[in-house]
């Protein structure tokens, strides 16, 4: 943190001010908050360790008798702690978080970032699902087969993502990030389809 301590004015306070021990406002960035390197391949155990350690340090109960401002900061910090843990522990959500930070927000992209073959496939499976609702037995077999295929595709994507995560961490190459986004798009379509085969 670059600013001074809100309480005593000491420079460069960390989570707590070194001089007066007052709790500082929490950093908004999840990686900074957890004191972890901003990497796509993250050590889950280290994250969990930090989560429990910080939970103990920042719990609002500890600040019940402190100043109003510290009580507010502990509430804010607890919110960042929980949100950040939920996002960072999941590789897909973590990747989407990093993409957003890098200006490649998955929700703000055009509709053309999906390969046409995938759309055709998604469309056909949806048609098959719809037919199934009218009790066509042949379609059911088709759907079960498709589901297996989609689950296989999903696994394949996860393997590829793992490699790309390591590649991004090694060089912060913008192209790698675009590739990751493409794969995440594809993965979203496929997980949606798997979900639909379950409800069909």
């Amino acid at each position: 943190m670059e600013s001074n301590c809100w309480n005593c004015g000491a420079s460069a306070p960390e989570r707590f001010c070194a001089d007066c021990k007052a709790l500082q406002p929490p950093p908004a960035d999840y990686f900074v908050f957890f004191g972890l390197p901003a990497q796509l391949s993250l050590d889950g155990k280290e994250l969990e360790k930090q989560f429990y350690a910080l939970s103990r340090q920042l719990h609002p109960d500890i600040f019940a008798r402190k100043s109003q401002r510290e009580r507010e900061y502990s509430l804010e910090a607890t919110a960042v702690l929980n949100d950040g843990f939920r996002v960072l522990r999941d590789p897909i959500q973590r990747a989407m978080y990093v993409l957003k930070k890098q200006g490649l927000d998955i929700g703000e992209q055009g509709t053309r970032d999906v390969p046409p073959e995938l759309l055709e496939e998604v469309f056909d499976l949806n048609m098959a699902l719809e037919e199934m609702k009218f009790g066509d037995e042949e379609a059911r077999t088709q759907i079960l087969g498709a589901r297996e295929r989609f689950e296989g595709m999903c696994k394949e994507i996860d393997g590829e993502l793992k490699k790309l995560f390591a590649a991004w961490d090694a060089g912060h190459d913008a192209e790698v990030l675009t590739e990751i986004r493409g794969l995440l798009n594809r993965r979203k379509y496929i997980t949606n389809l798997i979900k639909q085969t379950e409800t069909a």
Binding site: T111, P116, F123
Partner: protein, 137 residues
């Protein structure tokens, strides 16, 4: 979230659901998708060879009510327009007509993209068949 009456109307009675022969020279097909929600939309136009007017339009959308309504409305608007006029249809017109809330604007964008993709497909086919058409004439 509450849908507007017009969205509900299109959702409950979608216009022009179906498909046209995608291999026909005078049919253009647009297939688009929204990765963040997993929607997929297919929109087709059939153009009258002599007048250059869109004589038929069909769609099939797998997605939310707003995506279905946007594409249903689009097919209604397309019929009777020339290809150039059809290119003028913008997503904001769809948003206004259906009173779509901000979180559903991307559904109208999807419909606009589908129109453009269908026209693009039609035009690509036309440039390929020009010599044949002249030979026949």
């Amino acid at each position: 979230m509450a849908y507007s009456d017009k969205v509900l109307d299109h959702y409950n009675n979608p216009r022009n659901v179906g498909s046209l022969d995608k291999n026909a020279d005078n049919v253009g097909t647009g297939m688009v998708g929204a990765p963040e929600c997993g929607d997929v939309m297919k929109l087709q136009i059939q153009v009258d060879d002599t007048t250059g007017i869109i004589s038929d339009a069909k769609f099939k959308t797998f997605g939310c009510g707003s995506a279905i309504a946007s594409s249903s409305l689009a097919t209604e608007w397309l019929k009777g327009k020339t290809v150039d006029e059809a290119l003028q249809i913008s997503n904001t017109e769809i948003v206004n007509e259906l009173s779509l809330p901000p979180v559903k604007i991307h559904c109208s964008v999807l419909a606009e993209d589908a129109i453009k993709a269908a026209i693009n497909d039609y035009r690509t086919k036309q440039t390929k068949r020009v010599p044949v058409a002249e030979a026949v004439a």
